[in-house]
């Protein structure tokens, strides 16, 4: 073998004027995206310096005195977890039925409606929540106030249902029909085929769909803000009381603190916390998908 292959021919390396324009656009994109993360960190520093770890562990959020984010962190986790527990069995059943049992023409219609509904703005769900869900929850459970963590979780479940359903269905449907034929030729029933052959193959895609749903639920501001009751306290195990999530807190107080002071830094700290929570979720999901596809 010859060792002296002189250089890799990688094409022209200089940029034309048009190339420079594209490079500048890429730079703007880079600045905006990176700027988001950098500003969140930099602007959180003052509150982290004054509160220390207490920022995440403190239970009291009294503007001017102390900033403790624990009630909001707990609220976010509870509401998001609740939404996922509620949406998962429903969305998966729907996806399985749509993918494996519905005739193709009908399936396309279901998909169309789901994809359309996935784009319904959060404010519309908020309006529905305020008008029906809070009242419904209050009457059904005989509560004094319908604005609870449970209400928020339920509303989020309804909100992310179309997204989770249609993306899981995509994953199920994209499993090659050869596998189905082989399984059925071996005498498996349609349900066994779906559960033992199709579902495992589609798992990475389904996990991706669910993660997207969780991410959306965790970051939703408006719909949650309107039905959660906005009460900063660590909720304990009772989900039928008012609470607060990070986005709903941000939505309530951003206008007051606008742009300066420790209060603003504290809100930025909350934003950073939310960003980290979503990031952990996304990365662990990507990691899981990589592991299971190996």
């Amino acid at each position: 073998m010859r060792a002296d292959l002189i250089y890799g021919s990688t094409g022209t390396r200089y940029l034309e004027p048009v190339g420079w324009v594209f490079a500048i656009m890429t730079f703007i994109f880079l600045v905006c995206a990176m700027g988001l993360g950098i500003f969140l960190v930099v602007e959180s520093v003052p509150v982290l310096r004054s509160e220390g770890l207490g920022f995440w562990l403190g239970e009291n959020w009294w503007v001017g005195e102390s900033f403790g984010a624990l009630p909001m962190i707990c609220g976010s986790l509870i509401v998001t977890g609740l939404a996922i527990i509620l949406v998962l069995p429903v969305a998966l059943s729907g996806a399985l039925f749509t993918s494996e049992y519905l005739p193709p023409s009908f399936r396309r219609k279901v998909k169309g409606v789901m994809e359309l509904l996935a784009g319904v703005p959060g404010i519309i769900y908020g309006l529905l929540g305020v008008s029906f869900l809070t009242v419904g929850v209050k009457d059904a459970l005989n509560l004094l106030d319908g604005n609870t963590l449970f209400t928020a979780g339920l509303l989020l479940a309804i909100m992310v249902l179309p997204t989770v359903l249609t993306l899981s269905e995509d994953a199920l449907h994209s499993v090659s029909s050869e596998f189905r034929e082989v399984a059925e030729s071996l005498g498996l029933t349609k349900l066994q085929t779906a559960l033992r052959v199709v579902l495992p193959q589609a798992l990475p895609g389904i996990v991706g769909a669910v993660l997207l749903g969780i991410g959306r639920a965790m970051g939703e501001t408006i719909a949650v803000m309107l039905v959660i009751g906005s009460l900063d306290r660590v909720p304990g195990f009772n989900i039928f009381v008012s609470g607060q999530t990070i986005p709903s807190k941000l939505g309530r107080e951003a206008a007051e603190a606008l742009g300066s002071g420790l209060h603003w830094n504290a809100l930025m700290g909350l934003g950073l916390t939310l960003f980290i929570m979503v990031a952990i979720l996304t990365f662990s999901g990507t990691f899981f998908i990589k592991r299971s596809s190996q």
């Binding site: 703007i28 703005p121 404010i123 941000l250």
Partner: protein
Amino acid sequence: MNEITTEKIVLAFIGGVTFLIAALLFFILSTLFLKGVPVLHAGFLFEESGDFGRAGGIFYQSMGTLILMGVAVLLSLPVALGSVLFQTEYLETGKFKTFLTQLTYILNATPTILFGLVGYLLFGVYLDTGVSWVTGSLILAVMILPTLQVSIREAVEALPEKYREAGMALGLSRPTQIYRIILPQSFYGMVTGVLLGLARAAGETAAIMFTATTFSGIRLPQSFSDPVPTLQTHILVLAQEAANPESIAQAWGAGLVLLGLVFLLTLMAWIFRTRVVMESEL
């Protein structure tokens, strides 16, 4: 026999759940329709709102929403197009390219309220645009950037390799190649991206409610530092007066208009997306 019984029970269960989902979603849509339609009188779209939103129409709110989403897309499109073409046509496969792709996905997964927070600081404070429609448009422009990028990239990557090769073989320079082959082929992708971006911007409330909008007192912005009323914030404010039937009724009307706008944009995007598929199968 036992196997078949289980099969039937499970099938009945998931079929029932699917039916319930359909019923729920039908309920949502029909509620919006039933609550919204009675409010829509002839002048609803073209009248000023009055009595703190409890009467009149939503003309200036609609204008505000249209201004914000329109300007956002105008700002976002060149950046999205330029950055995608730089990645697909100029950058070699490598760490930096992967990083840029990752960045798009991270930006897409970021909760929208964070765009409001950081955007207000970056534009409102440092660029000194304050609480105004300019700040709001800039924030929405960054927020919908991934939507546009993904659509354009899909279209560019769907372009069959043979067309690139044919263009290269004829000695077309890279800019000519982009102008003559890549851009025409990715045109429908751009349109899809723009429409989906508009839909996303139209539905966004959290990122603009404290950075760009006002409830009353302003009609159309007279300068760069004026906030605007929008449909989204209009609904938000009215929804919080849940005890007041007139406010809620107006909110349903505005909600139906907003939803109609979002659905219209999404449906148009689908039509163009099918065109992309057809072209690439050529």
